[in-house]
Symmetry: C2
Subunit: 156 residues, 2 copies
C-alpha cells in the first residue's frame, strides 16, 4: 500500500507536519497552487490515510511533567499469553504514552512521562514492576532532548 506522491504532495506533507494550523490560503501560496486544488489534495491525503491525524504538542515542563524516560522491559516468556497480559496492563497506565515491541535484549520499549522522580519511582515500583509477566526493567531518564523533528523524511 504505497501511493505515488508528486512534488507538490510532498511539499504539502512537509508543511503540515510542521504546522498543521496553516490556512489553506497560505498553504496554497506556499505550494504554488490556487486554494481549490490545494484543499483537494489535502483531503485526498487525509482520505487515503497518509495523513493520519492532527495533534497539538504541549510543553511537558509547563504542565508539571518534569520527568520523561525510556524503559526497557524484559518479559518472563515471549509467548502470546504473556504478551497479552503485559499489553493489557500497559494500556491502563496513563503515564505510559508509548509501547513498542522491539528486537534486541529487552522485549519492549516504553516511553513514560511523570511529574517528578518521586512519582516516577512510585509508578514503576507499584504499577509496572507489579505486572506478573515482567521480568526486568531498565530505565533511562531523558536529561535533555536535542532533536525532535515532527516531520519524517519523504523518500523518492
Amino acid at each position: 500500500m504505497n501511493y505515488k506522491l508528486d512534488q507538490i504532495d510532498r511539499k504539502i506533507l512537509e508543511i503540515l507536519q510542521n504546522n498543521a494550523k496553516i490556512t489553506n490560503a497560505q498553504l496554497s501560496k506556499e505550494v504554488g497552487l490556487s486554494p481549490a486544488p490545494t484543499l483537494e489534495r489535502v483531503k485526498k491525503l487525509e482520505q487515503t490515510g497518509i495523513i493520519q491525524s492532527y495533534h497539538a504538542k504541549l510543553d511537558p515542563a509547563k504542565i508539571g511533567l518534569g520527568v520523561s524516560t525510556f524503559v526497557h522491559v524484559g518479559l518472563k516468556g515471549h509467548n502470546k499469553e504473556n504478551i497479552e497480559i503485559f499489553l493489557n496492563a500497559i494500556r491502563e497506565i496513563d503515564e505510559i504514552i508509548e509501547c513498542h515491541h522491539v528486537t534486541g535484549t529487552g522485549d519492549f520499549v516504553l516511553r513514560v512521562i511523570a511529574k517528578d522522580i518521586t512519582s516516577y519511582q512510585r509508578l514503576m515500583l507499584e504499577k509496572v514492576s507489579e505486572i506478573s509477566v515482567v521480568d526486568n526493567l531498565q530505565s533511562m531518564v531523558i536529561l535533555s532532548t536535542f532533536k525532535e523533528k515532527k516531520s519524517m523524511p519523504l523518500p523518492l
Copy 2:
C-alpha cells in the same frame, strides 16, 4: 514556570492533543462554554507556550518508510567538545528524527526512520558509525507499536 489550569483548560488540552483540527464551535460545545471565551482560552494556552505547536501525523508505511528504530549511542568521551561534534553530525541527518541525552549505559538514544532495512543499514554504516566520536551503537528495530498516545497525562 508552572501555570494554574482549571478543569476546562485541561479538557481543552486533552481534546486538542488528540484532534487539533476540531473547530472552535465544536470545541466550545464539548467543554461547555460559548465560542468566544473558548477561543480566548486556546489563545492564552498558545501564548503561554503550554501549547507549543500543531502537527499532522503521517502513516510511515504509506509513504514508503518501513523501518523505525531506537539506537543507543555511546560516545568515546563525555566531554562537551565530543558531544558538540556528535550533535552537529546528528543534526544533518534527516532520518534521525529524535535525539535524547539519557542516563544509563549509552549516552544518547536516537529515533531513526528509513525506507527499508537495506537503506537503514547503509545509513548507520556510512553516516552514523562514521561520526568520529561515536564509540558504539546498538539498534533496536521496532517490530510493532502497541501504544502511541498523542496526549500526555495532565496532573492535578
